[in-house]
């Protein structure tokens, strides 16, 4: 995109030269990535490639050893001291959805979604609850507000987790295998919600094994292996004509399953 005529599209997320090791285990080597506003980036690759680590570094759940992360103008450099204010701003800009939902089991669905709005955005309880009900209704979960998460199905819990993140008005949504813990039929409910979000222009980064989603919804496909991005570009292009042997092997393994 950068070598064509100047465009108005800006990058919501920029990851520059990210590196991370756990002891001797080098998990990320020099990963750089840009996510344009309103685009969906799907991230695939074999287990242990470092996909989750890249995503978790983006909102500093994991601290990179070196490199820079910029989300919606908030820059964090791994080698410099991170101020709590900057960290909070960065995390507010990025909503995260986990494989296992990570809802708060001791709170009702309504409190799960309203409490963060009150504490982080300073909304009043009424404002927060109104926003929560609006989101729940949109997700088809209006009747679940007073239930506890454990009484909801996995697919419902994941949609609640998406609503909880959306309620804070993030500029980008990060998904780490949001459907991997769900039965395929239930996963579809979640994928539908994500597809709708994408069509509304939400910027998204999605680590996934759902090749259908990657092919049909994402604008950009990133293939990771051994801590590096080995290939990236148009999803259909890569899937039909992978340039890298490692990509070919991975796609073959996924498609034969």
């Amino acid at each position: 995109m950068s070598h064509t005529a100047p465009t108005k599209i800006r990058n919501v997320v920029q990851v520059r030269n990210l590196a991370k090791a756990y002891g001797d285990n080098v998990v990320l080597r020099d990963v750089s990535l840009s996510v344009p506003e309103g685009s969906v980036t799907a991230m695939i690759g074999p287990s242990g490639a470092g996909k989750s680590t890249v995503l978790r570094c983006m909102n500093l759940l994991e601290k990179p050893d070196s490199g820079e992360i910029e989300i919606d103008g908030h820059v964090i450099n791994a080698r410099k001291k991170i101020s709590p204010k900057n960290l909070a701003a960065l995390r507010r800009s990025a909503g995260m959805v986990f494989q296992h939902f990570n809802l708060f089991p001791h709170m009702t669905v309504l409190r799960n979604i309203s409490l963060p709005q009150e504490r982080i955005l300073g909304r009043s309880r009424d404002e927060a609850n109104t926003k929560t009900m609006e989101l729940l209704t949109r997700m088809g979960l209006g009747d679940k507000a007073d239930h506890y998460p454990a009484r909801c199905s996995g697919g419902q819990q994941q949609r609640i987790a998406i609503a909880r993140a959306l309620a804070l008005g993030p500029r980008v949504m990060l998904f780490d295998e949001p459907t991997s813990a769900l039965d395929p039929e239930v996963g579809v409910e979640v994928l539908e919600v994500m597809k709708e979000l994408a069509s509304e222009g939400m910027t998204m980064v999605v680590v996934t094994h759902e090749m259908g989603f990657a092919a049909n919804v994402s604008n950009e496909l990133v293939v990771m292996a051994d801590g590096c991005i080995i290939e990236s570009g148009d999803p259909r292009q890569i899937m039909s004509d992978p340039q890298h042997e490692r990509t070919r092997r991975f796609l073959r393994a996924v498609l034969e399953r």
Binding site: L61, F98, L103, P105, H106
Partner: protein
């Protein structure tokens, strides 16, 4: 022998005053012990060295030394350094120490069993460390620890009987003095035992019930 039942029946009401003192002692030990227990539960893993050393000292000594030793130390030992406490206050202080030490470990256990995913969930939302403790970690940690805290309260109630060694007129010393003045030791101690059981057994049931109720949403 056949006078045993009537003897128990006559002695039992005279011990109720003692029971009340035992319960009061339990109440104040919990009232002051639990906040310190909560404080030490964070202290033993705190980054701040002074806070950590103080917490570890109180927790280790409180758990390592028998409550009886702490009690004697407060009542008979402290006067050697010009600190004289009434028997009730020294008993209370010793039991507060024991309570703080044991509950610190119970609370820490509860807090550590809050699933890591929920902590990450609150981090990813951008919650402050304080809010995370206040809304996620402490409510759930306490909820997990509550049944064992209730179990501890029962043991503490029974441990108040140690206060008889420093002449606090609680249930045990009342039974003892009734026994020694009438030589009806057997009915006196049976009556005392019945009163301890009358509190302890339902309280234990309550802790089991609480455990069941609290696991509902999990």
């Amino acid at each position: 022998m056949n006078a045993l039942l009537p003897d128990i029946a006559t002695i039992l009401p005279t011990l109720l005053g003692g029971l009340q003192i035992s319960l009061t002692l339990t109440f104040f030990s919990l009232l002051f012990g639990l906040p310190f227990g909560m404080l030490f539960s964070f202290g033993v893993t705190a980054d701040n060295k002074i806070f950590r050393y103080i917490s570890v000292f109180f927790v280790e000594v409180g758990r390592g030394a028998p409550a009886l030793v702490l009690l004697q130390l407060m009542y008979y030992g402290l006067p050697n350094v010009q600190i004289t406490l009434t028997s009730l206050v020294s008993a209370c202080l010793a039991l507060v120490w024991t309570t703080a030490a044991y509950t610190a470990e119970l609370i820490r256990g509860g807090i550590q069993s809050v699933p890591h995913g929920e902590i990450e969930g609150s981090d990813a939302l951008g919650m402050s460390v304080r809010d995370r403790l206040r809304f996620i970690v402490i409510p759930q940690g306490m909820r997990i620890a509550l049944p064992s805290l209730m179990g501890f309260a029962v043991l503490l109630f029974q441990a108040t009987s140690l206060a008889y060694t420093v002449a606090v007129p609680e249930l045990m010393s009342q039974a003892y003095s009734t026994g020694s003045s009438t030589f009806k030791y057997l009915p006196a101690f049976i009556a005392a035992g019945l009163l301890y059981a009358a509190i302890s057994i339902p309280a234990t049931w309550l802790s089991v019930l609480t455990e069941k109720r609290l696991s509902r949403h999990l």
